[in-house]
């Protein structure tokens, strides 16, 4: 397992021996607009990789190019040692699970699952056995003779998964498979997909705009923006060591401050001075995650002060109760900073307007260079 920070610009993550799917400078343009721009990516065998990014970032286009549903404008797609860039979809041997499930409405569940096997001219008896197996895997044996429209969203989702897996594809592709499910079902399916993927040891690419899905399920997260790679890394890397301000703000919530670094490990943000790791210089952007900040009473602040801690004082402007969390908005010399704390039976809620102090460890401060 690699836990080191992967710097942007060197996205290859593992030994080439293990690489199962490789994208080389993959590009897709529509007229003047660039959907995917010179994308390089390697996916090791057996890993579940998430393509994460806001809508329109090119992640679905990338997935569809891998599936052969969109012809790339440039670059190569390599599976194992085969260049499949020009290969038609139906010969690529990839299982694709669609956001809309795309079940064949005129076929029963069993027929849907059997379709890919029929296309491969698998003997009838074997089709029957494997369909049963696949449906058992997603716990839908009882519904084999139903039509898709008679199933719930979660059941349809599992049929789509069984249909994609029954052909034993070399690579499983999932296009926002959970976005049409409600929150509770989404959690369940997340674990189910992860379990199945691991037990089969199948290489999988998972497209999502939901950072929780990406972080919780995947071996590796590929953050994309405007058709380009921002960062590739393990979930922890991406969260803890975002390579760019975009990654930092897209993956998890963050406070974002602009300032000027003195080159001595401190940054001036307005009238305040904030200590940061290392000794950057010039214009910088500072980010601190809300839950890393402690909110203290103004008079208790003195005790919290220390070498490795940033301490600022401000005024509480708003308190929001969101169930498991309390969100505080604090005005620090004209800058809004958000602080999150676990709520404890609603106890200890401070009143708006009271003077407070904010404290966080210097190592929790993320610094990014900023062009003037």
């Amino acid at each position: 397992m690699m836990h080191q920070t992967i710097l942007s610009g060197s996205p290859t993550v593992s030994d080439d021996r293990d690489v199962h799917l490789r994208l080389d400078g993959l590009t897709k343009t529509y007229g003047n607009s660039v959907a995917v721009s010179a994308l390089d990516l390697s996916v090791p065998k057996g890993e579940l990789v998430a393509l994460l990014g806001p809508s329109g970032c090119g992640k679905t286009t990338t997935l569809r190019m891998v599936a052969g549903l969109i012809q790339p404008t440039g670059g190569r797609i390599v599976v194992g040692s085969n260049d499949i860039t020009a290969m038609p979809t139906y010969r690529r041997d990839m299982g694709l699970v669609f956001q809309s499930y795309a079940l064949f409405p005129h076929m029963t569940v069993a027929k849907n699952v059997a379709f890919g096997l029929e296309m491969r001219s698998v003997p009838k008896a074997e089709i029957e056995r494997r369909v049963k197996e696949a449906l058992a895997m997603v716990r839908l044996e009882a519904l084999a003779e139903r039509k898709p429209r008679e199933l719930s969203g979660g059941q349809q989702q599992r049929v789509a998964l069984a249909r994609a897996l029954v052909i034993r594809p070399s690579i499983l592709l999932l296009d926002e498979p959970l976005s049409n499910l409600d929150a509770k079902l989404r959690d369940e399916m997340r674990n189910e997909i992860r379990d199945i993927q691991q037990s089969l040891g199948i290489t999988a690419v998972f497209v999502t705009h939901d950072q929780v899905e990406a972080l919780s399920m995947c071996d590796k997260v590929v953050v994309m923006r405007a058709g380009k790679l921002e960062q590739v890394g393990t979930p922890i890397d991406v969260y803890e060591h975002p390579a760019t301000p975009f990654v930092a703000s897209f993956v998890g919530r963050t406070n974002r401050l602009e300032g000027r670094a003195r080159g001595d490990g401190t940054v001036d943000v307005g009238p305040m001075s904030v200590r940061v790791p290392g000794r950057p210089g010039g214009n910088v952007e500072i980010m601190v995650r809300p839950h890393r900040i402690r909110l203290l009473d103004a008079d208790a602040a003195q005790g919290a002060s220390g070498e490795g801690t940033n301490l600022l004082s401000g005024r509480l402007t708003r308190v929001t109760f969101v169930g498991d969390l309390l969100q505080y908005q604090v005005d620090v010399g004209g800058t809004e900073i958000v602080v999150e704390a676990a709520s404890d039976h609603g106890r200890g809620i401070r009143s708006v307007g009271s003077p407070v102090a904010l404290a966080w460890r210097v190592e929790d401060t993320m610094v990014f260079g900023r062009s003037a």
């Binding site: 529509y30 607009s33 660039v34 329109g56 970032c57």
Partner: protein
């Protein structure tokens, strides 16, 4: 910032350029039928309107504007054209008046009742115009139930058949389903809550109708009127059977010139005239739609 793609990139062409040949092959049959049965005949018709008609149904290939100048220089044809337009407009107006209440009622109905009424509206459409005209012949005859009924009430029995009145009655009924369906299509904007809002603001039903309902249904009215006008101008079965040989309309004249007199250049010219009237109606329609927006 330009590098950020739109949220929905244009969908990819489903067939690669290499399959253009397949596409052309698949389109060939429809293109062929369209060419033989539509483009060629219509172009030929346009050409025909500049040919010279010879006695006995002959046609001389030439380029003459005599058919056109003759048409507008002849009071008989000028009157026929004006009469066609007036009669078609009357039919359109009559159809609108009798269709509007049905459409409004249908729009307000829901569920099975609405389905049932819709089937009632559509069913005449599935019955041949010949059959429906035949029904009107039985109904409008001098001894028929309508004339006798009016006479029984002590009025002078009117003449409802073999004249323009008969043609208007028959065609109004025949075009009703088209009008009702068009009105319904255009009623999409009419939310019942708007009426309720108007009433809650103190508008009595009549005022609500004039100030709220009618303006909102103008698109449907325009569409229905366009369709009915065009169908009326080109209708021919009903005027032929109910007109008593005295209702001269463009469509019946085209048929007579084409089949009986065999003056094809004149028939072609009259047809082109129908298309011109059609184009004018479309222009008026587009204007109305623009005016509403």
């Amino acid at each position: 910032m330009t590098a950020i793609t739109a949220s929905a990139p244009p969908a990819a062409p489903r067939l690669a350029l290499g399959r253009t040949g397949t596409a052309i092959a698949l389109l060939l049959p429809i293109a062929l039928i369209n060419a033989i049965g539509f483009i060629l005949p219509v172009l030929n018709l346009l050409r025909m309107s500049f040919n010279e008609a010879l006695a006995g149904g002959g046609v001389r290939e030439t380029v003459t504007f005599e058919n056109w100048t003759g048409l507008f220089g002849d009071s008989f044809y000028v009157e026929l054209i004006l009469n066609s337009i007036t009669v078609s407009l009357s039919i359109t107006l009559a159809t609108l008046v009798v269709s509007y209440p049905i459409a409004l009622y249908l729009h307000r109905s829901t569920g099975r009742w609405r389905t049932f009424l819709t089937v009632l509206v559509i069913s005449p459409l599935l019955t041949s115009a010949v059959v429906r005209t035949y029904g009107w012949i039985a109904l409008l005859a001098d001894q028929g139930p309508i004339v006798s009924g009016i006479a029984a009430l002590g009025f002078a029995p009117p003449r409802l058949m073999f004249n323009t009145t008969g043609v208007i009655i028959g065609l109004t009924e025949i075009l009703m389903p088209y009008m009702i369906l068009s009105l319904l299509a255009g009623f999409g904007r009419l939310d019942p809550r708007v009426e309720e809002a108007a009433m809650s603001l103190g508008a009595p039903p009549i005022k609500t109708f004039w100030r709220v309902i009618l303006p909102l249904t103008v698109p449907g009215i325009a569409l229905g009127c366009l369709l009915c006008f065009v169908l009326a101008v080109s209708s021919f079965i009903t005027p032929k059977l109910l007109g008593g040989g005295r209702v001269f309309l463009l469509a019946t004249e085209i048929y007579d010139q084409a089949i009986v007199t065999l003056n094809w250049p004149l028939a072609a010219t009259l047809s082109m005239l129908v298309l011109i009237i059609f184009g004018a109606a479309l222009a008026v329609y587009a204007r109305i739609l623009r005016a509403i927006d």
